[in-house]
């Protein structure tokens, strides 16, 4: 069937990034200055895609014979992915020189990973979910091992690769079983048949395998073992995008999986599963993070517990809690990228200076960095009126509306535990005397990434309705 020009026009966000990747490869090929040009080219691509996606959010179309959708939830996710990539690219400019692997390929891989995430969030066919997932994951495996001479990076990348590919095996086998029962891979047809099939044991097994595969990607508790090692071993900026945009992409797929539940009120047969991983991830992440001294590792465990809070929304699975998850993902993206950008500024050569002791007395030498770090830590801990608080608040309210009050109580309890290790960072920065001289490489672009994330955290905290109403207006599409 021929496709109209109109279809290509609606696909513009994908085309911008896709064509951008091809151009970036050519730039990398023909000029030796590619590492100066490519960051700016990527920033341009991400900025235009983010802006275009949010601008055309109400133009909802299903394109290419029901393969991919644009507008609606997908547009919000595209905005999150591209904004995250934009901030990470900004803080990478200075960081990569310090990290010792300033390759132009880095930016091309980030662009490809973002394209994969956009395909995942917009997919209307399981085939597209699979392709998007692999495009994103394979780029991340390479990015994790970016510096091939570093043992830590090697190890991170091997662990990520083996467990990521293992998860892919589950996803593909799950898809095979789902296809076997329904003879289709179209998500819309699956949604219509969801209630009728939900007592079919093969269909449910298939979906469970599919969801387990994605539980690896969101870093939920029983499937979390790669998270701390990979987050600590990878380059800090790569960790920044993996933990935010990568998690958001995996959540977008889980939300698509549960579409039948919150749009046409099919029974949520997966509630017990999500309730279990939510409880375990929240408590495990918060408790283990208490003992961590390495900042990246501490944020990795905190990332596990944040996956738990978001999984509460999946347990409840009504339109309100799903909107809460999307809001939470946006908030989490900004606070986490801000925190990782600050760590990338402080970090020295050879992974040094990533421990909490290294930021002792940061306030004396770099008051601005200390102030922003405290802002992000307060936001991650969920202290009002910052973005993280409203993320948790909306998810918990959604859970209570569906009768999961006990889960919301565990959530509040776990965030009380987590306040300890977030505030510990603040205590080290403000109430201890400096032991060593912190001379950071002053890169203006990293600072601007920090400032933009900080501004977004404040904006989403002071005016949460701005984003939440937008999400609520499109959540059922």
């Amino acid at each position: 069937m021929p496709f109209s020009n109109q279809e290509y026009l609606h696909l513009l966000p994908f085309i911008i990034i896709g064509v951008g990747i091809v151009f970036s490869v050519v730039i990398e090929l023909i000029t030796k200055k590619s590492r100066e040009i490519l960051p700016w080219f990527s920033i341009l691509l991400f900025f235009s895609t983010a802006l275009y996606s949010i601008y055309t959010i109400h133009n909802k179309y299903i394109l290419f014979n029901g393969m991919i959708q644009v507008g609606g939830k997908a547009a919000i996710f595209n905005f999150i992915f591209n904004f995250a990539a934009l901030l990470i690219t900004m803080s990478s400019i200075g960081y990569l020189k310090k990290y010792g692997s300033n390759f132009g390929e880095y930016y091309i891989l980030i662009q490809s990973a973002v394209l994969g995430m956009m395909v995942m969030a917009g997919s209307k066919d399981i085939l597209m979910i699979f392709l998007g997932l692999e495009l994103m994951s394979i780029c991340f495996y390479v990015l994790a091992g970016l510096n091939r001479k570093k043992h830590s990076a090697n190890e991170a990348s091997l662990k990520y690769f083996l467990l990521g590919a293992f998860a892919t095996g589950f996803v593909v086998y799950g898809i095979a079983l789902i296809y076997g029962v329904t003879a289709t891979t179209k998500i819309d047809i699956l949604i219509q048949n969801f209630s009728a099939q939900s007592s079919n044991i093969i269909f449910v097994t298939g979906l469970i395998l599919f969801i387990i595969g994605f539980s690896f990607k969101i870093a939920a508790f029983p499937f979390h073992m790669w998270v701390p090692d990979v987050y600590q071993g990878s380059a800090t900026t790569v960790t920044g995008i993996m933990s935010t945009a990568g998690k958001a992409a995996a959540f977008s797929v889980l939300i698509i999986t549960l579409t039948a539940v919150y749009t046409v009120n099919s029974p949520n047969i997966f509630s017990p599963y999500f309730a279990a991983i939510a409880t375990l991830s929240m408590l495990f992440g918060s408790i283990v993070a208490l003992t961590q001294d390495n900042l990246k590792r501490m944020l990795a465990y905190s990332s596990i517990s944040h996956a738990g809070y978001m999984a509460i929304g999946l347990t409840a699975s009504n339109s309100y809690s799903i909107s809460g998850i999307i809001f939470y993902l946006a908030a989490y993206t900004f606070m986490n990228i801000g925190a990782f950008s600050i760590i990338s500024i402080i970090e020295g050569e050879n992974d040094s200076r990533t421990n909490i002791q290294n930021i002792t007395g940061l306030n004396a030498s770099k008051p601005m960095l200390a102030a922003f770090m405290s802002l992000f830590m307060f936001a991650l801990a969920g202290i009002p009126p910052l973005a993280g608080f409203f993320g948790k608040y909306y998810v918990f309210i959604g859970a209570i509306k569906s009768g999961f009050t006990w889960l919301a109580i565990i959530g509040v309890f776990s965030s009380v535990i987590s306040v300890y290790f977030y505030l510990r960072v603040v205590v080290f920065m403000y109430f201890k005397n400096p032991t060593e001289d912190i001379n950071t490489d002053t890169s203006t672009f990293s600072y601007s990434a920090v400032i933009i994330s900080g501004a977004m955290v404040l904006l989403l905290g002071l005016m949460p309705d701005l984003l939440l109403n937008l999400i609520l207006s499109v959540v059922n599409w």
Binding site: L127, F130, L131, E134, I138, Y141, V142, G145, R148, K149, H151, S152, N154, E155, A156, S157, L158, K159, F161, L162, A165, F166, T168, G169, F170, V172, Y173, I175, A176, L177, Y179, G180, A183, T184, T185, P228, D229, Q232, G233, V288, T291, Q292
Partner: protein, 102 residues
């Protein structure tokens, strides 16, 4: 003509999948672990093809092409990672690749 019933394919495929999962969990050589992952993907491919033929619907077979292509891309990256780690540590035993502990 007598044809093989679909259950046979499904049982074989489930068996291959379980062998793959077990292999990933108990083997310690990174390359063998990777082979077991490929076994899991191929188990899924077998199911897809069997279902596709059973339903008389080509989508499953097309899916298999995509899975194979992606598996090839994944193998490229995976083997490159394993080579990089072998150059640095002269081992591919996943138990000895343990800088990070809690």
């Amino acid at each position: 003509m007598l044809s093989i019933p679909i259950e046979y394919y499904l049982i074989l495929s489930a068996f291959m999948f379980i062998v793959g999962v077990t292999g990933v969990l108990i083997r310690r050589n990174a390359i063998v672990v990777f082979m077991c992952i490929e076994l899991m993907l191929n188990a899924a491919n077998l199911s897809l093809v069997a279902f596709s033929s059973y339903h008389g619907n080509p989508v499953g077979q097309i899916f298999v092409f995509f899975v194979m292509t992606v598996a090839a891309a994944e193998a490229t990256v995976g083997l490159a990672i394993i080579i990089a780690i072998f150059r640095n540590k002269l081992t591919v035993n996943v138990d000895e690749i343990n800088i990070f502990k809690w």
